[in-house]
């Protein structure tokens, strides 16, 4: 597959089995990622990139994953309109579990895939590389939500006031920070082992855990969960 970097993304637990997901990247870290999935960690299959239709349809499907990639959710029960549209265009009104899997992984990465500030730099040409001089966040910085960024296309970056923009360094601060996530408090930051590891857990997608060892280059995130968005979050805070 000619990946430069490959890592274990996580595991989505279905009712009858679990999907193990791996992600790989080429030289540009901000390019769309290729994902592979496996049921037994031995045979890996490549997943097609997510399309907008898939994302829209997958949001309608609720409930656990079944654990079988060819399982078909019948759309007629869920959303009659979408089913009708599909019938018109000549396809069957079902959505396969594989498509739901693709869409869910994409949503999770977009919503809660995070990296520490300074770990990636943007070159003037626009491509994103790892910052080889990144030495880790300090302990004080690690406790603040603003030192972590979403690793996706920034949405709020341009809305900041001029005053804030003056402090930013365009090579490292080209992503959205976690501070302005809605709803507030959807991240839980904890220092474990007496401050040697900082762990962030997302409350929106229960099961996403991000870790970072301050003052070192180590960080990463992994998802272990049922693959469902926590829509009750506002009630739970």
């Amino acid at each position: 597959y000619r990946f430069e970097r490959l890592w274990f993304w996580g595991c989505i637990q279905g009712v009858r089995g679990a999907y193990y997901i791996a992600e790989g990247l080429g030289p540009d870290r901000a390019a769309p990622r290729s994902r592979l999935y496996s049921l037994n960690c031995l045979d890996w299959s490549l997943l097609t990139p997510a399309t907008k239709e898939m994302l829209a349809l997958a949001e309608q499907v609720k409930g656990r994953f079944q654990g079988d990639p060819s399982f078909e959710y019948s759309l007629a029960e869920i959303n009659a309109e979408a089913a009708a549209r599909l019938i018109e265009s000549g396809k069957e009104p079902v959505i396969k579990e594989e498509a739901r899997l693709i869409a869910t992984i994409e949503q999770i990465d977009r919503a809660v895939g995070i990296v520490p500030r300074g770990a990636f730099v943007k070159t003037p040409l626009g491509s994103v590389h790892e910052n080889r001089h990144f030495e880790g966040l300090s302990l004080v910085e690690a406790k603040k939500l603003s030192s972590y960024f979403h690793f996706t296309e920034p949405v709020n970056l341009k809305n900041k006031t001029l005053l804030e923009k003056a402090d930013l360094d365009p090579s490292t601060d080209f992503l959205d920070s976690l501070e302005h996530d809605i709803p507030r408090g959807s991240w839980s930051i904890q220092l474990e082992k007496g401050g040697t590891v900082v762990v962030l857990r997302s409350l929106l997608w229960l099961g996403l855990t991000f870790y970072h060892v301050p003052m070192t280059k180590q960080f990463g995130y992994v998802y272990f969960g049922t693959g469902e968005k926590n829509l009750d979050l506002p009630f739970m805070l």
Binding site: V15, R16, G185, S188, K193, G194, T226, L231, F235, M236
Partner: protein, 538 residues
């Protein structure tokens, strides 16, 4: 060769007389002078920071040659910045930084306390008495690790030591590591414990004293109120009587069978959780809140939760235990076989004749597992109680008889009997209540049967031969396929129906009054005339 940059070796030699490409051999003295000039320029101290370029370059090159980082040319600017930064610190630092104790150190101190072994004398004494059973946390952790569930080995060991401490401090009969519940700021580590007889009585005594004191206070206040009533006219008393409170189950039975201790991290002191009341369980079923990690945090919700986070935690623990604690069928049997038919079967004991079914069978069919904790009824207790029985005790109530007639007869609730198989657990929609797996397909002789709960995500159980264990790692919430809908607030109280009796009528206007007066006078005048006529007739 274009204009040379400062870092290239040909800089400065682009002047006439210094170019290396001239045929004339430049004057060696002039060359030396040029070198001296260049060096002097480099040595020129900056007015702002007190550094000079020559020393700076020397430091950079020293650092680079010492460390030899990869791809130096890409990070040269950062190295330069770092060197300057280091310089700046050393020269301007006149004050010493206060020695900050890193939090790691404090945490290590706490953990150190766990590792301290007791004195030799105490050990001998303990061996003579009955040793309360310390659960082998590491063994359990090993089995769960086969399934991919569990904590870090270090953390498991700390928990092990913390449990040992707990046993030494509290009078404990049996102890078990129940699990870990995650919270926003801090997590909870929970131990399930059965206290020895003496400890429970003391608590009951304390509680009895408290209630007696409160009762005395209440009667004192009631007397004062009575006196006041005689003096002032009171507004009408409300006839609202709150529904009778359902009493909580006694220590050692039902939902309060076990006592739970929690701590935020191993090394911190264990806190005992209060007993759970049925009202708390009923309310906990309606709300869904994250735990913050502080036991005294208020739980803001609707319907309002009676208690703070410690009570909510205890209620969730009770629900999870009742819903997900399972054991292989036949491991426990009823103490007395006759009691199977009655509902009061509360006690069970280990079955000495139990033969563990093979792992494959345990995975295949869910009928090989059974609950060993009683389910919680809708009322919030394990054993149903009739709340109207309590009203007999209130002799001061005048309307007692009316009350009994008005109350609907509450149906006696029956829950599933104690050792039901989990194959009878209902699933939600298409999802079965449990998912069973073997830990590995590659080595069947050593694989372990793992059970995951789908109703309470995070609850796991494993079985391997005679060993089995339940554990919980999660956020502490039940899984519901639909979104959580909070209870609606009750409708506003209806106003008193307005009828002609109490509706305020408009006062008659002046004209109407005059008209009425005139009509009355006419009537009087007619009456008088009538009388006059009669008088005249005579």
């Amino acid at each position: 060769h274009g204009p040379y940059q400062p870092h290239e070796p040909g800089y400065g030699l682009d002047q006439p007389g210094y170019s290396p490409y001239e045929d004339q051999i430049p004057d060696p003295e002039a060359r030396m002078l040029a070198i001296k000039n260049a060096k002097a320029y480099l040595l020129k101290t900056s007015t702002r920071s007190g550094l000079n370029l020559y020393d700076h370059f020397a430091n950079i090159l020293t650092k680079i040659l010492d460390e030899q980082p990869a791809n130096t040319v890409d990070i040269i600017e950062n190295i330069s910045k770092d060197v300057k930064w280091a310089q700046f610190r050393k020269k301007m630092d006149t004050l010493r930084d206060e020695h900050l104790i890193p939090p790691t150190f404090e945490a290590a101190e706490k953990c150190k306390a766990l590792f301290i072994k007791e004195g030799g004398e105490e050990e001998h004494e303990e061996l003579e008495e009955e040793m309360p059973s310390l659960p082998n946390v590491m063994e359990t952790a090993f089995y769960f690790e086969q399934a991919g569930i569990g904590l870090n080995k270090d953390e498991s060991y700390y928990i092990f030591l913390a449990l040992k401490n707990l046993i030494n401090v509290q009078p404990i009969q049996t102890c078990r590591f129940w699990g870990k519940i995650l919270g926003l700021e801090m997590n909870y580590i929970i131990a399930e414990v059965q206290l020895r007889e003496g400890g429970e009585e003391e608590e009951a005594g304390e509680e009895g004293e408290e209630t007696v004191a409160e009762g005395e206070k209440e009667t004192g206040e009631a007397e004062e109120e009575d006196e006041q009533k005689e003096k002032e006219a009171e507004p009408p008393k409300s006839t609202y009587k709150p529904p009778p409170e359902i009493p909580k189950e006694a220590n050692g039975t039902g939902t309060n069978k076990y006592v739970y201790f929690v701590c935020n991290e191993p090394g911190k002191p264990w806190v005992k959780l209060p007993l759970v009341t049925p009202a708390q369980i009923v309310c906990a079923r309606k709300i869904k809140k994250f735990f913050t990690g502080r036991l005294d945090a208020p739980v803001v919700s609707f319907p309002p939760f009676p208690g703070n986070e410690a009570n909510y935690l205890r209620a969730q623990i009770a629900r999870i235990s009742a819903g997900t604690h399972v054991s292989p069928t036949g491991f426990y049997q009823f103490a007395d076989e006759d009691e199977e038919e009655e509902e009061g079967a509360d006690t069970y004991e280990e079955n000495p004749d139990f033969e563990p079914p093979p792992v494959a069978e345990m995975v295949e069919s869910l009928a090989t597992w059974a609950h060993h904790v009683k389910g919680i009824l809708k009322q919030g207790r394990c054993v149903w109680i009739n709340p109207s029985q309590k009203s007999e005790e209130n002799e001061e109530e005048e309307d007692e008889e009316e009350e009994e007639e008005e109350e609907e007869e509450e149906q006696e609730e029956r829950g599933p009997p104690l050792l039901t198989l989990i194959s009878e657990d209902e699933g939600m929609k298409d999802i079965p209540a449990w998912t069973a797996q073997a830990s590995t397909n590659l080595i069947p002789q050593y694989s372990v049967a793992i059970l995951q709960s789908n109703r309470w995500p995070g609850a796991y159980a494993f079985a391997s031969g005679r060993k089995f264990e339940n554990i919980y790692f999660g956020w502490g919430h039940k899984y519901s396929p639909e979104s959580h809908t909070p209870a609606l607030p009750p409708p506003a109280q209806a106003e008193f129906p307005s009828g002609p009796g109490i509706t305020e009528t408009v006062d008659p206007t002046l004209e109407e009054e005059m008209a009425f007066k005139a009509a009355q006078e006419e009537a009087l005048a007619e009456a008088e005339e009538g009388e006059d006529e009669e008088g005249e007739d005579d």
